[in-house]
């Protein structure tokens, strides 16, 4: 029997080494935008499919916008926000750290689907953010330690490219 070639089924060269990213994000929405663009560009440069990179960037954007608009809204001086990401094979693990207010009840929102069976005048104009985060992540975990919020989640990069509505 011939020896197994350890690289026979390996992904392209540039995807063999895990990608590690760390970003410091100032607590304003324009800085969030710039950081999210940088994250998406680096994922694509690493070899992540365009659509998976885009949905990953969206997920991180939702988490960061929530921190800016809620946790740090009254405490912008307590920025910056730190984003750490590790991409290995087809998974991205993300850790987001901030020193703003804790999540209400120390629990991340459930992100339930919104009821769209209402007259158009009553359709929701917000509340989609946590729904999208929940739909696009797994292993989501939130901890408050001292003055620090730590949100962790994983994104399946293969699934993100084909994300379908949650039943």
């Amino acid at each position: 029997m011939p020896p197994l070639d350890p690289n026979a089924a390996a992904p392209p060269e540039k995807r063999r080494t895990p990608l590690k990213l760390a970003l410091e994000v100032a607590p304003d929405l324009t800085a969030v935008r710039d950081s999210v663009i940088e994250l998406e560009d680096r994922l694509v440069a690493y070899g992540v499919a365009t659509e998976a990179a885009g949905m990953s960037a969206l997920t991180v954007a939702e988490a960061l916008n929530n921190i800016v608009e809620h946790a740090l809204r009254r405490h912008p001086a307590q920025g910056p926000i730190r984003v750490e990401a590790l991409v290995r094979k087809a998974r991205m693990r993300v850790v987001i750290l901030d020193h703003g207010a804790p999540m209400p009840g120390l629990l991340p929102p459930a992100g339930r689907p919104l009821d769209l069976r209402v007259p158009h005048a009553d359709l929701p104009e917000g509340g989609f953010g946590w729904f999208l985060i929940r739909a696009l992540t797994s292993r989501l975990d939130y901890r408050r330690r001292g003055t620090e919020n730590r949100l962790r989640f994983e994104i399946d990069l293969d699934a993100a490219a084909h994300a379908a509505p949650v039943a």
Partner: protein, 112 residues
């Protein structure tokens, strides 16, 4: 946010010449939509072919733009890019808006 418009008989086309409708510009987008659609008769087609990123705030602003047209007028969406299309499908907002692949077809079929 700058939007460009093109008037057609019974319809107004609004084009978003920027790549993102996100939290940083959601309010400006909503206000700009109000300004360009005010007084315009008929259906409004929002052409999003240049937009490759819409987050939840941007989505909310598009819903708000539809609502501020009032019950008599429609806001249809045209030429969603793949990731924008996914945001609409994930949130099921694709069931609320008429979404057209192509502007010419949308205009041709506007008596539907």
């Amino acid at each position: 946010m700058n939007l460009t418009t093109e008037a057609h008989p019974g319809a107004l086309i609004v084009r978003v010449p920027e790549a993102r409708i996100d939290a940083a510009v959601a309010i400006q987008f909503k206000d700009a939509m109000r300004a360009v659609t005010e007084g315009a008769p008929g259906r409004v087609f929002l052409d999003l072919h240049r937009v490759d990123f819409v987050d939840s705030s941007g989505l909310g602003a598009i819903v708000a733009a539809m609502k501020q047209l009032g019950p008599e007028r429609r806001l249809d969406l045209v030429a969603l890019t793949p990731n924008v299309d996914k945001v609409f499908r994930l949130t099921r907002m694709d069931t609320i808006f008429a979404i057209h692949d192509d502007l010419d077809a949308a205009l041709a079929g506007q008596d539907d």
